[in-house]
Symmetry: C2
């Protein structure tokens, strides 16, 4: 009866610094059977996102870590293969959070929403029309609030969140300055997505280029990177600038960062008083957020983003890796900026 073999990636060790392939183990098993009221999902796409680095460490972040030996966490687009629940039937497409595996048995509570491929391609439910797109939309709606004529800066700008941030800011009438790694990504931002400027953070004169591109200063900095980009942005922030703090990928492999307040910190110039002085004298807003805080606005997001996608006002790019077996190396590359667009693993084709 279980002729198909299921596969899953489990976490075997917590990384010291950068994750390595040895932190993961690919396990094979029989395809699980759904019990009473349960549903068997076959995963089509697995989303790979920077937040997963946090789940690999034991330190408490805003969510519990993945246990050693447990399946790696992750959002998925899946197809119902078998259903013992009256609300779902085989063949339907759903958004779930079933992790780095080919199959999962879930209850309806673990299904986030039904997907209709006629409305938008299924894979977009993991990108521009899903959590990353909602992160961009909600972070701007609730915190960044770009106004016509203002200047917004976003890094990792060709990625899933950043590309949506810049395009939404432009739709709200603001100037969008994108930061990305390499000339190819910068050209994409300017020529295809319509960013007003794009700057390569690898350029030796990166900070000067950023300053030149932001002649009127920066009103919104959508922070998803930290590190050297934040240091270049900070002096350019205008009075009343808003900084939605959405991620800090530059630090995710840094154990001193992860250890938080009680750990060993790099001995260097302590910039904390200088930051607080900037916050005070320029009336800055720094606001951390996780998209789930704003979940009550999700239907509004789906309407507005659906409309933009339908009319080609928001474009997106996907970087699709074929085969679940490549998930760890793709994820390790994501933390180094090797992907170009929303990173997805194609796990299987629809039945």
């Amino acid at each position: 009866m279980t002729e198909i073999t299921a596969q899953r990636w489990v976490l075997t060790a917590r990384p010291q610094g950068e994750p390595t392939p040895e932190n993961f183990r690919l396990e094979s098993a029989h395809v699980p059977k759904p019990g009473e009221g349960e549903i068997l999902l076959g995963v089509l796409y697995l989303s790979l996102d920077p937040y997963m680095r946090g789940r690999m460490s034991a330190t408490k972040s805003y969510a519990a870590p993945v246990e050693l030996g447990a399946v790696m966490e992750g959002g998925t687009v899946a197809q119902v293969l078998r259903s013992n629940h009256p609300d779902y039937r085989a063949g339907e497409f759903v958004l779930s959070h079933s992790g780095w595996q080919t199959h999962a048995v879930v209850t309806p509570k673990q299904i986030l929403r039904r997907l209709d491929p006629a409305i938008a391609p299924l894979s977009t439910a993991l990108g521009v029309y899903g959590m990353p797109g909602f992160t961009a939309w909600a972070g701007l709606r609730e915190i960044g609030k770009p106004k016509p004529g203002e200047t917004l800066v976003v890094a990792a700008a060709s990625g899933a969140v950043g590309s949506a941030v810049g395009q939404i800011a432009r739709l709200r009438g603001a100037r969008a300055v994108g930061i990305a790694g390499g000339t190819e990504k910068c050209a994409y931002l300017r020529d295809e997505l319509g960013f007003d400027a794009a700057i390569d953070h690898r350029a030796p004169d990166f900070a000067e280029q950023l300053k030149a591109a932001c002649a009127n200063g920066i009103d919104v900095y959508f922070e998803n990177v930290g590190g050297a980009v934040w240091e270049a942005v900070w002096p350019l922030l205008n009075e009343y600038a808003r900084v939605p703090v959405c991620g800090l990928i530059a630090h995710y492999n840094d154990d001193s960062y992860r250890s938080g307040f009680n750990g060993e910190l790099p001995v260097a110039a302590d910039r904390l008083p200088a930051l607080m002085r900037s916050v005070l004298t320029r009336s800055l807003t720094l606001r951390g957020f996780i998209q789930r805080e704003f979940v009550q606005h999700y239907p509004e997001f789906l309407r507005e983003m659906g409309d933009w996608l339908h009319h080609g006002q928001v474009l997106y790019r996907e970087d699709i890796v074929d085969g679940l077996e490549h998930a760890p190396e793709a994820f390790i590359g994501l933390l180094k900026g090797r992907n170009f667009g929303k990173l997805l693993v194609r796990v299987a084709d629809p039945v």
Copy 2:
């Protein structure tokens, strides 16, 4: 005709670190004569406030520095001695910003508002019923937003801003934990102002005491101090905590702070990434502000605070120094926390 001699304190040198008496010079002059449309003020009270330290340095803050040789800046309660303007007549009391001097010639634009001693004592226009009280009220209304049952922490809690912050938070239903220097100030906070707890920041186990007083964490930290207090508060901040950043008096005499982003920073642990991680993982809000941003709410403040004062729901304490000649030493003491309550200089009695 000018039988009275006017006096004024001018800035003669910019301080290196702590201000000293040598940074100021007391000058005497004839009482100035108001021209056409002008008004001669006789200062009754001069307000001394921490922000004045910023004006003594050449570094741009949120306001221009006082020029060398110019009169030190400051808010005043004054009486109209002579008026060449139809809207004002001799004997009236006004709030102005006429600086560290006994007399000033102003135009109506330089008069902030008329004062009625029947509504509140004149001196309160420089404290609880003026700029410091409004700073507390507006910082809580717009940023801190204490809710019933939440815990608010404020330092310099027996001072002009801090004492208002704690009392307003309690009127909004929150718990107020005050931090002050010395047992006398702490007893005042608890026994007279009704703070739920008061902690002496000079105690060797200060951080432990603060933690014990905030068993449910901290939801609002009204930041007017910085330094060691901020370091003790930060680990206790709850998810979604709000930090109105109103002042950083612990750093005002620190040249490395003042030099801002481009200057020499203390070589120590760099806590910037750790702070950004806290902002991200606990969805914190840090928001700098200057009260003038919220000036449209001033009438509402006057109504609400006037009502509280009238009903004894907000109490205040003044630390009054007699004689303009003592202004520099009183100001230097303010930066060291030597005052107990709103610091004022009584310059003259009403005519």
